[in-house]
């Protein structure tokens, strides 16, 4: 009898442990139900709000956004054309759009607007390598209701060290990279990680089938703002 009870307790403890350590990943539909209600197709990407001193960061992030967004199944209005359009209206940085309601973008045929905020872009170099810490917040808002349909926040440390194993080559490569500051691959990686959590759009084969996919890290969508 005692043995049996012991077994029960053991079983319960294991269960508690398992649930306690449950994966931080939740299903897309649970995280972003409004995406499934509205099913936006076309997205207007506005210039990022840049809180850092890295002036280039905005461009790195903007030019690498359309690709993952299109793979995710969305129609993205041509960023270079929309950026020019906003520039003609005097808008260079996303912060200047603070007073503009999201509904304004409906006239361009956009169902939603993607806002991005760069909170961190810290680069560091050491003799044999380098890395960059990128802090980003994304927010996709409806042009019909102004409500947030999808959001994601992350801080990532990306190693920018050259893949070569030869130490001498490595030092040279890092030095060149410092000068060239080629962070496009970094920006692409960071964007792709975040955008993979958006419920798939009309042009994706996964459209309407991804609701149960547990790929959204709870910590990245906790609304602490």
């Amino acid at each position: 009898m005692v043995k049996k009870i012991m077994k029960w307790i053991m079983g319960l403890t294991t269960l508690a442990l398992v649930t306690g350590c449950a994966s931080p990943f939740i299903a897309k539909k649970e995280a972003f139900p409004k995406m499934y209600d509205e099913q936006p197709v076309s997205i207007f990407v506005v210039p990022p709000i840049n809180h850092t001193t890295a002036a280039d960061a905005s461009e790195y992030l903007t030019v690498t956004l359309p690709e993952p967004l299109s793979y995710q199944g969305f129609y993205i209005l041509p960023i270079e054309v929309t950026t020019e359009l906003l520039q003609q209206a005097g808008v260079q940085d996303g912060a200047q759009l603070a007073g503009v309601p999201t509904e304004y973008f409906a006239q361009f045929g956009a169902d939603a607007v993607l806002y991005t905020t760069i909170t961190k872009w810290d680069t560091s170099y050491y003799v044999v390598g380098g890395n960059v810490t990128v802090g980003l917040a994304y927010e996709l808002k409806s042009t019909k209701t102004g409500e947030t349909l999808w959001h994601y926040k992350q801080t990532l440390l990306v190693d920018t060290t050259d893949g070569s194993s030869n130490l001498l080559v490595k030092i040279v490569a890092t030095a060149i990279k410092t000068a060239a500051q080629d962070y496009l691959p970094v920006a692409r990686r960071v964007n792709t990680i975040a955008i993979n959590t958006i419920p798939n759009g009309k042009y994706s084969p996964l459209y309407g089938k991804d609701g149960e996919m547990k790929v959204v890290n709870k910590n990245a969508v906790n609304t602490g703002n």
Binding site: V41, S42, D56, E59, Y60, V63, T64, P66, E67, S70, Y71, G73, F74, Y75, I76, L77, P78, I79, E80, V81, E84, Q107, F108, G109, A110, D111, L184, R188, Y203, S204, P205, L206
Partner: protein, 123 residues
Amino acid sequence: MKKAALIMVAALVTGCAAKPPKGSLYWGAYSETLYEYKKAPGIETLAQHRDQLENIIQTSEREGYRIPPGVCIELATAYLKEGKAELAEELLTREISLYPEAAPFVEKLRATYIQARVNGEQR
């Protein structure tokens, strides 16, 4: 009979292999050339990006991919800057046929460019 069956299987296999998976797109070096242009806007960097946009469209056609969203519009605006209005118009129409949700934006663009031309002629 056996031979015919084999040929059919072969045709099916190659048929499937040639068709890219649904949802695939070809973006070439889009981010790279656009970044270069934004970093140093000029005739050379613009031409380089325009070539890349043409390459994306040609490769997509050849490989049977859907042309990525916005690419036809972006190339159309580049052509407009070069005075190639007819080619630009073709591309704008093409974008709408590929992505019907582009229609309101294309209409707005057309209105802007027509207005700009009218203003230019009045000057």
